[in-house]
């Protein structure tokens, strides 16, 4: 059984709560028309990003998905910079040039949300190759959705990571839907059998249970760090919102979202677990809730008043030199 310090648990709760509040607030603000473009929210899936990234530091890299805000926060990206980026502001994390689907911070080992489904797995193979070649001790984690799990890039990356014996971990976040299409229909075979077919250890976890994710992730990441090659984790979880903001979600069963929020909320499950076992107290968690609410409120205020990029910004950052 994985042993976590109180500091670890407090940080994990803080990050999960930060993701939830961030996404809930982006959902609200998007509806007012202030946020441009396409936004895909991670609320409901927090235990996966945080349970995995708990074991990573800045020398470790992650590749993310369309639904990348949670991975950014879990990897330690600056929340105000993220909010400004989503608003397309000049001092956003990517200067307002990336937006929600391309949000990244390489200095934190966050290699980007990705606008291309299945775009990330080859890239994290590269990060893992760098770690292996330069002997940094780092590992690389590729988050993919159930949709991306059917892309050739993902399956090719499983194979390449295996034959190159890369320090890589693939985390399939299976929220039940690729856009509107059920993963129960779209995934042939099973995620675990796919791992087995490529000669990788695989584990299926309840993605709403932070502790289950964290334990499986530690095993996989330790194995990668020890030079024992790639692993796969299949996290079954739910998204609280639609594929993107504005999705009427007519493909869901009646009452499905309300039921998910009531029964499978990873934050509620976490709070219940740590308070019942006496690891943390409600008061500590309530305090974090307050601090996070203030942080997110401040981030939105800052983003709303931040400056837009200028005409000069249009032409910079294409090349290092040209």
């Amino acid at each position: 059984m994985l042993q976590l310090s109180r500091e670890d648990l407090l940080q994990a709760y803080t990050r999960m709560r930060t993701i939830r509040d961030f996404e809930d607030r982006v959902h609200e603000e998007f509806a007012t028309g202030k946020i441009p473009g396409f936004v895909h929210l991670y609320a409901g899936e927090e235990a996966s990003a945080v349970g995995v990234c708990l074991h990573l530091d800045d020398k470790d890299c992650i590749g993310s998905t369309h639904r990348g805000h949670g991975h950014c926060i879990a990897k330690g990206c600056d929340v105000e910079g993220m909010m400004k980026e989503i608003y397309g502001r000049r001092d956003g994390l990517c200067g307002g040039k990336g937006g929600s689907m391309h949000i990244a911070d390489l200095s934190k080992g966050m290699m980007g949300a990705n606008g291309i489904v299945g775009g990330g797995p080859p890239l994290i193979c590269g990060a893992a190759l760098t770690a292996k070649t330069l002997k940094t001790g780092g590992v690389a984690v590729g988050f993919v959705g159930d949709g991306a799990s059917n892309q050739g890039t993902t399956l090719e990356s499983y194979n390449l990571a295996k034959v190159w014996n890369l320090p890589a971990v693939f985390v399939v976040e299976d929220n039940g839907y690729a856009e509107t299409t059920a993963s129960a229909w779209s995934v042939g075979g099973s995620q675990l059998k796919r791992a087995e077919a490529f000669g990788m250890p695989g584990a299926q976890v309840n993605g709403h249970d932070f502790f289950e994710v964290a334990e499986a992730a530690k095993e996989a990441i330790d194995r990668a760090r020890a030079g024992e090659g790639p692993s796969l984790i299949h996290a079954k979880l739910d998204r609280h919102y639609g594929h993107f903001e504005g999705d009427a979600q007519t493909y869901r069963a009646a009452g499905e979202q309300e039921r998910l929020k009531a029964e499978t909320d990873c934050l509620k499950i976490f709070r219940q677990r740590v308070t019942e076992t006496g690891l943390l107290e409600h008061g500590q968690l309530d305090q974090i809730d307050k601090e996070v609410a203030s942080l997110i409120g401040h981030a939105v205020t800052a983003a709303e008043s931040a400056k837009a990029p200028t005409a000069e910004d249009l032409l910079t950052d294409v090349y290092v030199s040209y």
Binding site: A127, L160, S321
Partner: protein
Amino acid sequence: MAKKSYRQAINEALAQEMRRDPTVIVMGEDNAGGLGSPGEDDAWGGVLGVTKGLMPEFGRERVLDTPITESAFIGAAAGAAATGLRPVAELMFVDFMGVCFDQIFNQAGKFRYMFGGKAVTPLVVRTMYGAGFRAASQHSQCLYPIFTHTPGLKVVLPSSPYEAKGLLIQAIRDDDPVIFFEHKVMYDDEEEVPDEPYTIPFGEANLTREGDDVTIVALGRMVGMANQVADTLEKDGISCTVIDPRTTSPLDSDTILECAEETGRVVVVDEASPRCNMATDISALIAENCFGALKAPIKMVTPPHTPVPFAPELEDLYIPNPEKIEAAVRAVATYER
């Protein structure tokens, strides 16, 4: 100075850069060859022997053979470049871009812009192009216009062994993603190539001939043909400037426009398919900027708008050749309003 082939020049550039910088690695299908096989190691050194000898010197940690999985390893090269290595990945034939283009143009080519100028992606993709090998439609295309079209990528077309060595060393030292096009018909071409490492800057065209009457802009393998035509026509009193742009992105538009202004008569020779290729792009550039100086319509010498055919008779008809270039130059040189 020793004579070296285009193949040797490229091999020497790779070896010298790998000796200089331990973060330079090469990867690709059979770049060494024979991995896990019962016979010879370093069996091929790439399908046409360009990387032969690198693995014995640098080991399999820095000369990585890959499965046939272009999407994964070109993407891995992009990811490795963004995190601290200088990978030179070999996309065996550029025709195979169809199975990995996303990783080049949506990922590597856009990191820097999408991430607000914070990404540095020193990736080189070496790839073979061009017709003349009887290799048919899926192993003979040029396709460099498609890469040139993509902001964030640099595109290099070395036209000789000397050019190949200097431009490849520049490509490896460059901090942006570079697509390096090697014409498969040129690997055995020879010329004097210095032993020591040297670089040729990107975006600076090379005037391989200088003349007063007609400007010929030629790309890659077409440069040699244009030189041959210029030498022939010189004897007939038509003197030509031949411009080798060396890189299509960045493109040295200043030199092209200066020469077009001077001669007022222009032929562009491009082996790529004729719609939206470099010939149309360069012609538009000249038409937009030098309209008043033009004494004749710009002529483009390109293949027809067909896939590259297999039968030798058809392929020979397909590829631009000195006769077609000469006819175009003569027509432009003698044109009167």
